[in-house]
């Protein structure tokens, strides 16, 4: 398949004893370069790519944005994001279900971050493994989509404990799926109360990447974070 818009690289996951050290190294390099790095995590089909494409379109005149698309296979999402106006690299994880800090560093090196303000790592669609690995991002943002249900914090506690912001996508379908935002809030708070390193209450923003409903709060959050980098 011919492809002039973005690179595709292959990385391999290793259980690194020093993942924490590698993650800190990523963060300090990005700080030196003035790049704000976000680790975006969600289930398959939660709408990561649609949300990123709209985000890039809304912010491309304000920031220079890079996106690292981590996938087991394929490059369909990378195409969409390159078209939206981001600098894009496709990362194939070679079957691995998550990214770690070394894989992320390799992605950043291959993409090249000079001149970028904001970089998103779109992690592999999975609520289990990505939660376990600090990739060196400044913030971890999780997307839960309404059709998945408001009980997901009970099933995938770690993801809801380590994230800094929760975007609830497909919020326009809440009535169809009997999705209760209050119950979600309680379930999230219950999981975060169990661990000391969850930094208190997590902000929850309902939105729709398809219709744009609620998107202004997410854009505001991003601008606040990127300005403070």
């Amino acid at each position: 398949m011919k492809n002039d818009e973005f690179k595709v690289i292959e990385v391999k996951s290793r259980i690194l004893e020093d993942n924490a050290g590698a993650a800190d190294a990523v963060r300090s390099r990005m700080r030196e370069k003035g790049v704000f790095l976000i680790n975006l995590m969600a289930s398959p089909g939660a709408g990561k790519t649609t949300l990123l494409a709209r985000t890039v379109r809304e912010l491309k005149d304000t920031y220079r944005i890079g996106v690292m698309e981590a996938d087991v296979d394929s490059d369909v999402d990378a195409r969409t994001l390159a078209e939206a106006g981001a600098k894009v690299i496709q990362i194939h994880t070679g079957g691995s279900c998550h990214m770690d800090a070394a894989m992320t560093q390799k992605g950043l090196d291959e993409m090249g971050v000079d001149g970028l303000d904001l970089v998103f790592l779109e992690n592999v669609g999975n609520l289990v493994c990505p939660a376990e690995f600090d990739v060196g991002a400044n913030k971890r943002v999780m997307i839960l989509s309404v059709p998945e249900g408001d009980d997901k914090p009970l099933k995938y506690p770690l993801m809801f404990q380590v994230s800094d912001l929760l975007l609830v996508n497909k919020a326009d379908t809440a009535a169809i799926f009997d999705f209760d935002f209050e119950r979600l809030r309680e379930n999230v708070a219950g999981q975060r109360a169990k661990v000391s390193d969850a930094s208190g209450e997590m902000q929850i923003l309902p939105l729709s990447a398809k219709t744009g409903e609620g998107f202004e709060s997410w854009i505001r959050w991003l601008k606040t974070e990127v300005s403070a980098r």
Copy 2:
């Protein structure tokens, strides 16, 4: 938490060189006992538990059914399924994102399968890792839910290559999510054509575990398989 309805056990995943051997051992033991074992796999929130609860309610006068609920944590689904009328065991995977054959054997031993006709393993909600491990089931059934999108075979090829049957849940919401069954069929066929061990075309059954729409085809498939065990 008090619980008289089902056991909760802890299992640990190991990368077993002999997972294939362990899987064959599970299959031959289940054959001796006259038990048909199904490995049910899907993303978080695709509707595994709702689908199983309806299946148990519809078949509990025909078969004695067991369900092994594999989760990183929690036992909310096990409660639902015990109430529906299944013999249930909750398996905590200790952070692991999938079940393997040894973990499955331990679950079957702890639950006890004597007198059961049909056992479902509800695997961890994840489209990546569970696809890599033969747990010793007679059939692998995958659920894709409509809100996840018809492009998922492109992103998670292995799951669509190794499964024997694809249930497309939440089919009643296809119009809302611009879900195209024909495109799904093409995407699935494209992935299966790439590998020699995918056993040709995979049957795809659209249904709704919530409304019951299309459920009769799934029940018919189950009855045919269980009778032939």
